[in-house]
């Protein structure tokens, strides 16, 4: 389910991507021939069943998953294996779990200064202060450890860490699933604002169709490692979907029916 890809003007072009893990000795095919492309400055959503390979697709783009077939191109060029520092400057990711993605013994200051040191930025001090300000965190959080922050604050630190190296592409894996409604709203507004200010391209995973509808212009529905269908945002509101699975998803989003 890909459609003709005009890879020429796509920011990210994923074609026929397969990812195969080995668990013990047996192969696990987590992603089976998925294709999609994301235009520059677009926000693209991935939704689908739990375990359908959404996180794995994002990890594959970052070189953190064993790609067994297909191709990933960014701005039309294939990526270096393993991913190099130049890649880190362009593509960053926010992980699914804000409790697991910050080092428990590193202060927020260290979390933010490390990428600056790796990429040899000069005005580190100013950039850290600015990064905290950008995600709406008070400067007094700077020297705290992650366990002294709430889930939403941690997620904002993770976003600040991803943005501090000024990437062009931000991959977001369920950025709000661990957050309550009020903080979810803050984080989503923050992401929308930063996308406009920084000219970012987003790929966003969520199991909440309402969040995807709010954030993304187009989306891809996945199931069992395969792409089910690609949709425009408007199709969600109109229920104009072709596959049964997507229809089930839409119905299920309305809540529990006794």
């Amino acid at each position: 389910m890909s459609g003709p890809q005009s890879a020429g003007n796509a920011k990210i072009a994923v074609s026929d991507l397969s990812v195969t893990f080995t668990q013990g000795r047996r192969p696990v095919r987590a992603v089976k021939g998925v294709s999609f492309s994301v235009k520059p400055l677009e926000s693209f959503g991935l939704v689908g069943e739990s375990g359908s390979g959404k996180s794995t697709v994002l990890r594959a783009i970052c070189g953190l998953a064993p790609v067994s077939g297909g191709e990933i191109r960014i701005d039309g060029a294939a990526m270096a294996e393993p991913r190099d520092k130049a890649f880190a400057r362009r593509v960053q990711m926010v992980f699914q779990d804000p409790y697991g993605s910050l080092h428990p013994r590193h202060t927020i200051d260290r979390v933010l200064s490390e990428p600056l040191a790796i990429h040899r930025f000069s005005d580190r001090e100013d950039r850290i202060v600015q990064a905290l300000k950008d995600v709406g965190l008070d400067a007094r959080f700077r020297f705290r450890l992650p366990h002294q922050l709430s889930g939403g604050q941690r997620q904002r630190v993770a976003i600040a860490r991803a943005l501090i190296v000024e990437p062009e592409i931000l991959l977001l894996d369920e950025p709000t699933s661990a957050l309550d409604a009020s903080i979810q709203a803050e984080v989503l507004n923050l992401l929308t604002r930063l996308r406009e200010e920084r000219n970012l391209t987003f790929v966003m995973v969520s199991h909440d169709l309402a969040v995807i509808d709010h954030m993304c212009e187009r989306l891809l529905v996945m199931r069992g490692g395969e792409a089910v269908e690609a949709l425009e945002r408007s199709a969600l509101a109109d229920h104009a979907v072709s596959s049964d699975y997507t229809r089930t998803l839409l119905t299920a989003s309305e809540g529990y029916v006794r």
Binding site: S50, D97, A181, A185, N189, H207, L236, G255
Partner: protein
């Protein structure tokens, strides 16, 4: 079935007294749970998890939990010895922790962890236990239970880990299940299946369920009653079906910041917190 509630909590408090000062995570919470589905919602850090944990007496030092009354089907939980409490935890009250990946042993296969949990509760042969484990995983909609049995926790997706935890907690068929954000990483269809299982247990076996969540839409459709917590207090208790017309400004605020399919794509409303709510 008697009218007597399964769990009675009166004036529950949880304090953290550290050298860095005192934090009151839960400040005088009272509620009752019968053989029904009670939801607890509230923002991050409002004390939902601490409330759940203190029922099982699982607050770790420096935290201290106190209550005027903490009765579970006629048993005073506060008076139980640590040994009897442990038996209670295993068999009659179970809790699905918020962070599945941290609650699972990272260097042990899922299968061994499930089999071990089964063998604690019943005398059962290894092959029987394995069969049961497979069935339990299938029940929580895991598509490839054979593989998941031989997987390590890091080899599972976020949602799979969560379902493994749920399966594990249902092994002893508890009378009361405290589920702390059990479905936050699940996609909507699987979420509904898992809720159906929980619902079945409440209806058929008369289990009590405390369902901690931040998903208001889900809680309003799934639960019977909802407790809304804010800064360690219950600010509102309301029938789930009437959550849409909640009165407390905090509950209203929470409802208003939800995005909706086909909604406007303007920035979402954010909650304006008011000192007076505390």
């Amino acid at each position: 079935m008697t009218d007597e509630p399964l769990l009675e909590v009166e004036n529950l408090r949880v304090r953290f007294e550290t050298s860095r000062g005192v934090t009151e995570a839960v400040r005088g919470v009272s509620f009752q749970v019968g053989r029904e589905r009670v939801g607890i919602v509230g923002e991050s850090g409002s004390g939902k998890s601490m409330t759940g944990r203190s029922i099982l007496r699982l607050i770790r030092p420096p935290g201290v939990a106190t209550a005027d009354r903490l009765m579970f089907s006629g048993i005073d939980l506060q008076a139980l010895s640590e040994r009897r409490m442990r038996a209670m935890r295993g068999r009659r009250i179970a809790m699905v922790m918020q962070d599945p990946k941290y609650s699972l042993n990272p260097v042990m296969r899922i299968g061994s962890q499930l089999v071990e949990a089964l063998k604690v509760h019943e005398r059962i042969s290894k092959s029987k236990a394995r069969e049961r484990a497979l069935q339990m995983l299938a029940d929580v909609q895991i598509r490839d239970p054979e593989r998941v049995l031989s997987a390590y926790p890091h080899e599972l997706s976020g949602g799979m880990g969560q379902r493994v935890m749920i399966a594990m907690m249902l092994i002893p068929s508890p009378d009361l299940l405290i589920a702390d954000e059990p479905t936050s990483a699940l996609d909507v269809t699987v979420q509904l299946e898992v809720l159906r299982i929980l619902d079945g247990l409440v209806k058929d076996r008369g289990m009590g369920l405390i369902f901690i969540s931040h998903d208001l839409r889900l809680v309003s459709t799934f639960c019977d009653r909802v407790l809304v917590m804010y800064l360690g207090k219950i600010v509102e208790e309301i029938d789930a079906s009437r959550l849409q017309d909640a009165e407390h400004p905090y509950t209203r605020g929470l409802l208003e910041c939800l995005p909706a399919i086909g909604g406007s794509h303007e920035p979402l409303k954010v909650l304006k917190r008011d000192e007076a709510w505390a």
